[in-house]
C-alpha cells in the first residue's frame, strides 16, 4: 500500500496531441479516488502512465517513495482492471487469476490459497474451472478484479470498470466495489466518465478536462463550490444553467443585470462582497435547475422573479423538467410534480439566490 504522487506530469503524444498537461495530484495511502471527465480529457492516459503502459513525457511519478518513471509495468506493483476486462481466453478462470503469480514464481500451494481467497471475496469460486468465453459480463468483471487484486498491489487502478454492465448489475457492482476497497484498504484510482459512479464509490473526485486537472475534492466540495464553469456544468444532473450577466448598482448595492436586459437579480451579502472585491465587467451566473422555482404567476411578495416563456415541459412522475426562454437564453428548471406547464405559457422563475454561483465571463473561473 502506498501513496501515489504525480508531480508536474505531462503527456504529449506523437503528432503533438497534449493528453495531459502539468498534472499535480496526490492520491493518499488507502484512498479511493475517482478521475472524472468527458472522453478525451486525459484520464485514461493518466491511468496508463501510472501503471506504466504509457511513457511519461515529463514530470515525476512516485508510488510510495519510489520514482516509477523508468520502471517496467511489472515492477511497479500497480494492478489495472481493464475496461474490456482483457481476460486471457485460452486460460481457465483459475489460471487467469493465477497468471501473474506464476510469473513471480510463487509456490504452487500459495497460488492456490491466494486464488481461492480472492475468488471467495468476489464470489466466483464456482466458476474457477470455466473459460472466460463461457461467462457473462458481470462474471468477467469479477474475474478481472480478482486478477488485479490477487497480487496484492500497492495501487489498484480501474478503467471504466462498470461501463459494459447493464444498469441493474452496475448499481450492484458500485456498492460491491466500494465494499471491496474498504475491505482491502488499497489505494485505488477509478477512471470514469460517469459522475454517479464517481460519487457512489470514491472519497475524492478529480475532475479533468482537455488534459488539465480542473478540481480535486470531495463530491460536496466539487458540487457546492465548483472551481470553474466546466466543473459546475459537468457535475450535476440536469446540468447547471449559465446566464450572461454584468454587475450593476442598485440603490448603492451591487446587483446583477442580464447582458440582454431581460432580468436583474439582487445578490445575497456573501456574493456581493465577493463581487465588490473584484473588477469584472462580464460575468456568468450559474444556477442549478433544482435551485429555480417556477410558477404560473408572480408571487408578488417582493422577491425578484424573472419572466420567461415555457419552451418545453416534460413530466417525469416524481418531478417535471421545464425549459424556459429568458431573453436569449434557455433556463432548465426541475419543477414539483403538482404543477404542470404548457408550451408558450408565460412563466415566472424565482432563483434561490444563495445558491447562485458566479464565474468570470472570460476565464470561467469561479469568483
Amino acid at each position: 500500500m502506498a501513496e501515489v504522487r504525480l508531480d508536474h506530469i505531462h503527456k504529449t503524444y506523437k503528432g503533438g496531441v497534449k493528453a495531459v498537461v502539468d498534472l499535480n495530484l496526490i492520491i493518499n495511502d488507502g484512498e479511493f479516488l475517482a478521475l472524472l471527465g468527458p472522453s478525451g480529457c486525459g484520464k485514461t492516459s493518466t491511468l496508463r502512465m501510472i501503471v506504466g503502459l504509457e511513457e511519461i513525457t515529463s514530470g515525476d511519478l512516485f508510488i510510495g517513495n519510489r520514482r516509477m518513471n523508468d520502471l517496467e509495468p511489472s515492477e511497479r506493483n500497480a494492478a489495472l482492471a481493464f475496461e474490456t476486462y482483457a481476460l486471457y481466453p485460452p486460460l481457465t478462470v483459475h489460471d487467469n487469476i493465477a497468471f501473474c503469480l506464476r510469473a513471480r514464481q510463487v509456490p504452487q500451494a500459495e497460488i492456490r490459497r491466494r486464488v481461492h481467497e480472492v475468488a471467495e471475496m468476489l464470489e466466483i469460486t464456482d466458476i474457477l474451472g470455466r473459460k472466460p468465453a463461457e461467462l457473462g459480463g458481470g462474471q468477467k468483471q469479477r474475474i478481472s478484479l480478482a486478477r488485479a487484486l490477487v497480487r496484492e498491489p500497492d495501487v489498484f487502478l480501474m478503467d471504466e470498470p462498470l461501463s459494459h454492465l447493464d444498469a441493474a448489475l452496475r448499481a450492484h457492482m458500485r456498492v460491491e466495489l466500494k465494499r471491496l476497497q474498504a475491505r482491502t484498504g488499497r489505494t485505488t484510482v477509478l477512471v470514469t466518465h460517469d459522475q454517479l459512479e464517481a460519487v457512489a464509490m470514491a472519497e475524492r473526485v478529480a475532475v479533468m478536462n482537455f488534459g488539465v486537472l480542473q478540481q480535486v475534492g470531495t463530491f460536496d466540495e466539487i458540487y457546492n463550490h465548483p472551481a470553474n464553469e466546466f466543473v459546475a456544468g459537468f457535475i450535476g444532473e440536469p446540468p447547471m444553467n449559465f446566464l450572461d450577466c454584468e454587475p450593476a448598482s442598485q440603490n448603492g448595492e451591487t446587483s446583477l443585470r442580464a447582458s440582454d436586459g431581460s432580468f436583474s437579480v439582487k445578490l445575497p451579502g456573501e456574493l456581493r462582497s465577493k463581487l465588490d472585491k473584484q473588477t469584472v465587467s462580464k460575468l456568468r451566473l450559474g444556477i442549478r435547475p433544482i435551485d429555480v422555482i417556477a410558477s404560473h404567476q408572480a408571487s408578488g411578495n417582493g422577491v425578484v422573479e424573472i419572466a420567461g416563456q415555457v419552451y418545453t415541459y416534460e413530466s417525469l412522475g416524481e418531478e417535471g423538467q421545464l425549459a424556459a426562454h429568458v431573453g436569449g437564453s434557455e433556463v432548465l428548471v426541475v419543477t414539483s410534480p403538482d404543477v404542470a406547464f404548457e408550451r408558450s405559457q408565460p412563466v415566472w422563475l424565482q432563483l434561490r439566490t444563495h445558491r447562485i454561483h458566479l464565474f468570470h465571463g472570460d476565464t470561467g473561473a469561479a469568483l
Binding site: 494492478a79 489495472l80 481493464f82 476486462y85 486471457y88 485460452p90 486460460l91
Partner: protein, 286 residues
C-alpha cells in the same frame, strides 16, 4: 405453403445440391484412383469393371522395368517425393518464421507505408508466375540458386508468404491489445506473452493458412519446372516424365498423383477441426 413443408423442401434442395457438387468435386479423384489401378491395355476404356493391378504403384516406387529397358524416361519417384516434401515444408516453415511476426507487426503497429507494404505482399500473388519466371531464372543462374533446394524454397515464398501474412493479420487484429498489456503488467516478457496467450488464439488461422500454403507449394509446377532441374525435381514436374514421345503412361501418372496427394490429405484431416473455423473466420474478417 406450410412452413414445415417449406423447411423440408429447402433442406432437400440444399442437400441435393451439395450431393451433386460433392460428386462433381470428387469424381476426378475417383477417376484418378481407378486409372492408377488399370493396366496399360485397359487404360483408355471407360469401363468401371476391370482387373485392378498394383503394377503401376510397384513401377513408380520400385523401378519400372520398361525404364530399365530404355522404353521410357527413368523417373525416380521416391526421390522426387522427398524433394517435394523438403521444399514445401521448408517454404512453409520459413513463411511461418517470417510471416507470423510480419502479420503481428502489420496488425499492431502504425508505421509509415504500412498499407503499401501489406499490399506489396499481397501483390506477389497478382502477377502470373509466368510473367516473372524468365527474369527470375536469369537471376537464379547468376546467383547460383538454380536447381538448389534453397532457391526453390525461396521462390516459394512468393506463393506461401502472402497467404500467411494476410490470414494471420486479421487474426491478430481481432485480439485486443489490452490482453497483451494485461500480461505485460502481470510480468511476462513479450515472447512468453506471445507463446502463452497469442499463439493459442491464432492457432486456427495459423493451422489453416499453413496447410493452404503447404498445398499451394506442393502443387506448384512452374517454379520447379523452370528453376529446378535434376537435383530438385518435384513430383509435379516429374509427372511429365510419364509422357514419352511415343506413349503417355497415364496409369503411372495417376498412381504417382495418388501417392502425391496423400500428405496433403493427411494434413487436412489432422487439422480439420481448425480448418473450417480458421478459413471461414479469416475470409469473413479479411
Amino acid at each position: 405453403m406450410h412452413p414445415r413443408l417449406r423447411k423440408a423442401l429447402t433442406s432437400i434442395f440444399s442437400d441435393g445440391f451439395l450431393i451433386i457438387y460433392f460428386m462433381f468435386a470428387l469424381f476426378p479423384i475417383l477417376w484418378m484412383i481407378l486409372v492408377s489401378l488399370k493396366s496399360g491395355t485397359e487404360l483408355f476404356t471407360t469401363q468401371f469393371v476391370f482387373t485392378p493391378t498394383l503394377e503401376n504403384y510397384q513401377a513408380i516406387l520400385f523401378g519400372d522395368p520398361r525404364a530399365a529397358a530404355g522404353v521410357v524416361a527413368r523417373v525416380d519417384f521416391p526421390r522426387n517425393f522427398l524433394n517435394s516434401l523438403i521444399v514445401s515444408s521448408g517454404a512453409v516453415v520459413i513463411s511461418l518464421a517470417v510471416g507470423v511476426p510480419a502479420a503481428y507487426a502489420l496488425a499492431r503497429y502504425n508505421f509509415k507505408g504500412k498499407e503499401t507494404l501489406a499490399f506489396t505482399f499481397l501483390s506477389f500473388r497478382f502477377a502470373p508466375e509466368l510473367v516473372v519466371i524468365i527474369p527470375l531464372s536469369l537471376i537464379y543462374r547468376q546467383l547460383g540458386l538454380y536447381d538448389t533446394y534453397f532457391g526453390i524454397i525461396w521462390v516459394y515464398q512468393l506463393v506461401t508468404l502472402p497467404l500467411l501474412i494476410w490470414v494471420l493479420r486479421s487474426y491478430f487484429e481481432d485480439i485486443s491489445p489490452d490482453i497483451e498489456q494485461a500480461a505485460m503488467i502481470d510480468g511476462y516478457p513479450w515472447y512468453q506473452i506471445f507463446m502463452r496467450i497469442l499463439l493459442p488464439l491464432v492457432r486456427p488461422g495459423l493451422a489453416a493458412a499453413a496447410l493452404l500454403a503447404f498445398v499451394f507449394a506442393w502443387n506448384n509446377f512452374i517454379f520447379p519446372l523452370v528453376l529446378g532441374a535434376s537435383t530438385v525435381q518435384t513430383v509435379t514436374v516429374s509427372a511429365l516424365g510419364y509422357i514419352s514421345s511415343a506413349q503417355a503412361f497415364f496409369n503411372r501418372m495417376a498412381a504417382a498423383a495418388v501417392i502425391a496427394s496423400v500428405p496433403q490429405m493427411m494434413l487436412a484431416l489432422s487439422i480439420q477441426r481448425y480448418l473450417i473455423r480458421g478459413l471461414s473466420f479469416g475470409a469473413v474478417k479479411g
